[in-house]
Amino acid sequence: MANTWGYGAMTNSLGDIQNAKAIIIFGANPAVNHPVGFRHFLMAKERNNAQLIVVDPRFTKTAAKADLFAQIRPGTDIPFMYGMLHIIFKNGWHKKDFIDQRVYGMEDVMKEAKKWTPSLTANVTGVSEDLLIQITRAYAKSTPGTLIWAMGLTQHSIGSSNTRMAPILQLALGNMGEEGGGCNILRGHDNVQGATDMCCLSHTLPGYYGLSAGSWKYFAKSWGVDYEWLAGRFKDKKWMSKKGFTLARWYAGVLAGKAGEDKIHNGGTNLKALFVMGNGITSISQQAKVKEALDALDLIVLADPFVNEAAILTDKKDDVFILPAATQFETSGSVTATNRSAQWRSEVVKPMYESKTDHDIMFELAKRLGFYDQFTKGMLIKENKKSFKFPEDATDEIARIIKTIGLTGWTSKRLKKHQENWHLFDQVSMRGIGPMKGEYYGLPWPCWTESHCGSPVLYDVHRPVKEGGMGFRNRFGLVHDGVSQLAGVGIKDAKVEGGYPEITAKNIEKVLGIKLSEDEKKKIGKNWKVDTSGIIAAKCMEFGIAPYGNAKARAKVWTFPDQIPMHREPLHSPREDLVKKYPTYKDKPNHYRVDTRYASVQNKEDWSKKFPINLVTGRLVNLNGAGVENRASKYLAALTPEMFCDINPNLAANHGIRDGDMMWIHSPEGTKIKVKAHYSYSVGEDRVFIPFHFAGFFQGEDRTGNYPEGTKPYAVGESANTVTNYGYDIITQIPETKGGLCRVEKA
């Protein structure tokens, strides 16, 4: 999505969904996963009679509330959306003006959409032609429409194409930059947005700054440390700019060198130490490999309020450390909601028992590793202090440095004021009243300056920048294939007409038609992303423009293997006939430091013969993530005390499995889990559903004896990810856990 229009975040807000006239949901189940957020969806139905459309492999609780429901075959969202576009273009339901002014490369999409006739789409997706037409008509004719997704769209080998396809559908209908429209990703955990913005990621620095020497120099300077010292901490400068291993495949970094394992590129060493802080180890696929990797490590450190089940899974006998980490109720700080709004948490109680906060653990280790002064110096710089106060000084450090997503306005003082005044914000528009007038709740980023109001609807050119307006970001150059990438429409009340480039020290005088003073010339940063002087932001506000430019969104990403999204069958597809027609990618060497297989897995055999059943995973209402936290609650655990599998009674009966019987699920990798059968018509006969929150059992073996005394959670069971299949997104390396295959058997 960031590759389409600049940022990869939810564009509108939950409250704004109340403005929608139609809602289409792909691979998300907010009624269960975001129940309170789902209230805003239901309000749209009440207020606007909005059509609620759900496209999902199973009949979820969200689908139960839908006006129209399409039970799609896993991994065929791209054909489904092309099928919709086929009908939209054919009937002229697309917004021509919008596309002309604000989108680049839509012609290529139109060409591809022509192929996806309703009958072809029906064949590939399993959704009937009639229903496809009915859904398309309902959605395209009721604008603004909002498009919702979650992990059901991302966890595929073609996930990064899926997340470009959905924006393309919205761009075609002119649903972007509109109240009640937008691409609204529902994040999973409470601070996925914030932790992602801070880039606990192997390919970026906080604020999505890349890993180039220029970025590192900016951070070294901003952290108050010598760049050469920082570079000296790495193997060498070359490795400083290389993407690291990801959460999805870290185990490969341990196992490399063993027979049959993927090759790695990690500076001549395997991974030997694993340091985990707040990350359930059973949340990634290939748990059998994860176990092997855990067993082979030299050092495992697990810092969590509850036992991280890595400790249960491994047979490693020494050097496994469990540290009691405090919860977020035993510290304070900010958290970014799915809509880019920051919310302040106050400390409820002091850390319980002997637990320490995450940052205290980091500070203590930094002291012992000899870089504590460098580590904490960034908090002293703003006011030239002698000592710091966490988290406030860290919040202000972030605000001082992160320009790319506009965090300048997120000072601790402002965020606390928003917390004190919850009652003064409107639930739909998020506008403040009284003393909060002129600000949106939580100052949704980009919040360009210390007095900016925040931006509740991204890319909205109908409102002035000082009220949160902006165009699409100019991120991909000025010209491509001879076509200007700048927008053909200006932002409301801007003193610069039409599109304009991202603002730099070099072009600011020309774009704004001003002359900088000598003093300003001396102080100004190279461009808006690194201008800590605030001059670029201030001038842009004065002229009513967003510092990041006003460009076209692009339907075509010329740096990706598929320039426009193309359907490719999952690595393990139940439709061997379609694998030939829509094959996956070639194997990709050095994908985040590890060679990753695509075609060689898909072509190894006709997987559908031995493994004819689609395997779908998801959440339950009472548990989240790897389930570590909620299974520690007696009451929540009691709602689903054991692991189970939703199975269609006919499929079950054909395998002699009765409701409540134990059954085996086998994966193509040769792994298996033993779970309780739960008859359900929410899945068809060609697929089963399993929740991914359980751990403690492994391939039929009860490992709960490994819990240290008094720490065993109230519910345990097999981890779904022991049987989710091999397969990773071609760009992001997100695991393909939503379109794999399996075989079922009575236990």
């Binding site: 990621l201 130490a273 802080m277 050097d319 009691p324 919040t395």
Partner: protein, 186 residues
């Protein structure tokens, strides 16, 4: 007793466990008689209205999902005693799902990790923070020297605060590796 209630009782409580319960009730009744009935008394109106005198209300945000519902925690003498919905919160407007309604158990659950531990010779052993941190830092430092900083990987969290997540990224940077990631990758 209606037929339905009777059925519910008999299915939930087996005969044997019902007898056990009855035995316990009998024993309790006997103790109560000896104590002369002074063990309990009716709460006063004031106690009903304000069971936690001197408590304070703290505003925070649910840690389950990204909706970001408001929570009002009632704290008395440093103990989180009650949890209330935030009716004035602009996103949740007093709503809570079952996870959010039980956030208090994130803090007071009995199965929390209570002290640092290390596995030695296959058995869990309680250790002090200083010992744990010294040992971990020594091991990390040694590996860094012998195998290079890329021999470690740091998995952070979408459950951290934004400030902590930022510091976690900085920690990996200053350790000297880009082997760092978190749940956004799944």
């Amino acid at each position: 007793m209606s037929e339905i209630t009777q059925k519910a009782l008999t299915t939930k409580v087996g005969r044997r466990s019902f007898l056990k319960m009855a035995a316990i009730a009998g024993a309790f009744g006997a103790t109560g008689a000896i104590a002369g009935g002074n063990v309990t008394r009716a709460a006063t109106d004031e106690e009903v209205k304000n069971p936690y005198p001197g408590s304070k209300l703290v505003k925070t945000i649910c840690t389950a999902c990204s909706v970001g519902c408001g929570i009002i925690a009632e704290v008395q003498n440093g103990v989180w005693v009650r949890q209330e919905v935030a009716t004035d919160h602009p996103i949740s407007l007093g709503g809570h799902c079952c996870k959010g309604a039980d956030m208090i158990d994130m803090v007071r659950s009995k199965v929390r990790v209570k002290y640092p531990m290390v596995k030695e010779g296959g058995a869990w052993k309680r250790i002090s923070w200083d010992t744990a941190l010294d040992k971990i830092a020594k091991k990390l430092g040694d590996l860094r020297k012998t195998s290079g900083p890329d021999s470690a990987i740091f998995l952070g969290s979408a459950k951290m605060s934004t400030e902590q997540a930022y510091y976690f990224r900085k920690f990996a940077a200053m350790f000297g590796t880009n082997n760092i990631d978190h749940q956004a990758r799944i």
